[in-house]
């Protein structure tokens, strides 16, 4: 078990302790050169870059967890945050990609955030040093050119089943908790968003168009076109299939069939 795996294991054991993450902006940065709004955008990207990895690796990671600002030092360009210890492996993984700049294996949300951090450093000729505890773990320098190989995507109609967890936003959308635990953002029209609001916390089936990453089969985006309640009726579903196709299945000798299709 390497360090990253060990940390993930610790997270899965319900670790609730905190670590310290320090961000030090160097290269001539000073408060008058960084506006408050710009700093806000920067910190948002910083948080997003880490939480996207944490949520990918552990679907139970709360989207409410935030970095807590502990201190501002060294001319207001050294900021220390208290972070859940469970985030440390995500930070280590992220910083390990700074050496090469290849972020192909990181989640899309993380890549977007990292690209914006990289652009900010390039535009300003600043460097962002990352320290976990007191240990330097990586830097985003102006020379660093982040890149990733965008996987080809396949668009097709799809139907998903899950529970609506949140609805709304500037653009009409809702978030669906899928059976496997993933939280999927679904774009939709305003009418459908209103309908999703009525079904908040209910189990629904959603029809629409999905863009799947062809390498990982992950859903990169989902555009919903219809929602219906999907109260679970497992027994009824099996009864329905038995009623319609039971006679065809009756003709199947299970042991022989399995032996033939799987070659056992």
């Amino acid at each position: 078990m390497d360090n990253y795996e060990a940390c993930r294991y610790t997270r899965s054991m319900g670790d609730t302790t905190a670590d310290k993450l320090t961000i030090h902006i160097t290269g001539g940065a000073s408060p008058e050169k960084i506006g408050a709004g710009e700093l806000g955008t920067l910190l948002q990207a910083l948080e997003q870059s880490v939480t996207a990895i944490a949520q990918r690796d552990d679907p139970d990671t709360s989207s409410e967890t935030k970095f807590a600002l502990l201190s501002i030092d060294a001319g207001s360009v050294k900021l220390a945050f208290s972070i859940p210890s469970s985030y440390s492996p995500s930070i280590s993984l992220l910083c390990s990609r700074f050496a090469s700049g290849d972020i192909s294996d990181l989640p899309e949300k993380c890549r977007r955030a990292v690209m914006s951090l990289g652009k900010w450093c390039r535009d300003r000729s600043f460097t962002i040093d990352w320290l976990l505890g007191e240990t330097w773990i990586g830097s985003i320098s102006p020379a660093l050119d982040f890149r990733f190989e965008a996987a080809p995507q396949l668009r097709g109609s799809a139907a998903l089943v899950g529970t609506i967890r949140t609805v709304g936003g500037e653009k009409p959308s809702f978030r669906l908790r899928l059976s496997g635990g993933d939280l999927l953002a679904c774009s939709c029209g305003e009418d459908l968003a209103r309908q999703a609001g009525k079904y908040l916390y209910r189990r629904v089936s959603v029809e629409g168009f999905a863009r799947n990453n062809m390498l990982t089969a992950e859903i990169a985006s989902f555009e919903a076109t219809a929602i219906a309640l999907a109260e679970r009726k497992l027994g009824a579903a099996f009864d329905s299939i038995r009623e319609r196709f039971g006679s065809a299945f009756d003709a199947v000798d299970v042991d022989r069939f399995m032996s033939q299709v799987r070659g056992e």
């Binding site: 679970r232 003709a251 299970v254």
Partner: protein
């Protein structure tokens, strides 16, 4: 979030049947009672794409495979077993239920893998 379990092909076919192949009568009762118990427990149930394909093959007249031959058997088994176990793991299933002895053995180190519980013990097993 409800627990998710994955059902393998044999269990689905037995649950869909109404007439048993001689000697497999108990399996139908067991599978149907198992589905009922899963329903009552509120467990999420999934099947893999491999199982979906196999069910469609089972329904297809020309693929009833009477007297068919095993094709490149070792390779087919490895592919199907890995795909089903991989689906269960990647979907976050807590248990893979299968009556396939080879799949039981192969998947066990990676995910909780069990045969259908006997009738009467199904609630206990869940």
């Amino acid at each position: 979030m409800a627990e998710l379990v994955l059902l393998d092909t044999m269990i689905c076919i037995w649950a869909f049947k109404s007439e048993a192949t001689p000697g497999q009568e108990d399996k139908i009762r067991q599978a149907q009672a198992f589905i009922t118990s899963l329903d009552e427990e509120g467990v999420e149930v999934g099947i893999s794409a491999v199982t979906l394909c196999e069910l469609m093959v089972a329904l297809s007249d020309e693929n009833r495979l009477e007297g068919g031959s095993a094709r490149d058997s070792a390779r087919q088994v490895v592919k199907a077993d890995c795909q089903i176990a991989g689906t269960a793991i990647s979907c976050g299933a807590s248990v893979l239920y299968t009556e396939d002895a080879q799949l039981l053995k192969m998947a066990a180190p990676f995910i909780s893998t069990k045969p259908m519980p006997p009738i009467g013990q199904q609630e206990l097993e869940l």
